[in-house]
């Protein structure tokens, strides 16, 4: 079946602009996670959705970052007033259950964001 998809695969923007990154999870998966992977680093947790609600947003670096999942499937990560330090690969993952630590997370290929 279809895996997790993310669009766009690459996004180049200028400092100060607004960007939206989209994630389509595996159909029927209730848990959705966003991570950010900077160059030479492992992925870092940003936010977790349980259905439509953000159950844990403790990893969002500041209030320029926001994410939504209005219908409990597709999620959008929104970044306002982008800065060069936001350049990274943004990863989305989904899992079948509500935030069980034992669950396997299925990752998308990521969106590479470059802020000039």
């Amino acid at each position: 079946g279809a895996g997790v998809s993310q669009t766009p695969s690459n996004k180049v923007t200028e400092k100060g602009k607004y960007v939206e990154l989209r994630c389509d999870p595996i159909s029927g998966h209730t848990a959705l996670y966003w991570y950010r992977q900077s160059l030479g680093q492992g992925p870092e947790f940003l936010i977790y959705f349980q259905g439509t609600g953000a159950a844990d947003d403790s990893g969002l670096p500041n209030d320029r970052f926001f994410a939504v999942r209005p219908e409990g499937s597709v999620s959008t990560l929104k970044i306002q007033r982008t800065e060069r330090g936001d350049s990274a690969v943004y990863l989305c993952a989904s899992s079948p259950s509500y935030g069980h630590s034992t669950d396997t997370q299925y990752f998308g290929p990521g969106t590479r964001l470059t802020v000039l």
Binding site: D56, Q105, G108
Partner: protein, 115 residues
């Protein structure tokens, strides 16, 4: 706070040789342990995970890992590697309790298999 250390950023190895990728973690509470692999231009894929029980865990593609609580380690091994195993490998933990399942990753180890 929890942390994961992958001791080698790069591991070059010849085809059919054995390999061990090292992972140590730090946590004051119980954790679950995972190894993910990232092939070029692909998403992270689960290789194996340790939740409880036998400390030797077998995964896909002939990989296995051993949980050592006293050493706080979860090293990944394969007895004979193939060219197709060239990829980046990430060790990760999640809290066994009080967590929504978010993963804490190490910095990764790039495995390069040479003919």
């Amino acid at each position: 706070a929890q942390s994961v250390t992958q001791l080698d950023s790069q591991v070059p190895v010849f085809e059919e040789a054995p390999v061990e990728l090292r992972c140590n973690y730090s946590s004051s509470v119980s954790v679950y342990l995972f190894w993910y692999v990232q092939y070029p231009n692909q998403g992270l894929q689960l290789l194996l995970k340790y939740l409880s029980g036998s400390t030797l865990v077998k995964g896909i593609n002939g990989f296995e890992a051993e949980f050592n609580k006293s050493q706080t380690s979860f090293h990944l091994r394969k007895p004979s590697v193939h060219i197709s195993d060239t990829a980046e490998y990430f060790c990760a933990v999640s809290l066994a309790r009080g967590s929504q399942g978010n993963l804490i990753f190490g910095k990764g180890t790039k495995l390069s298999v040479k003919p």
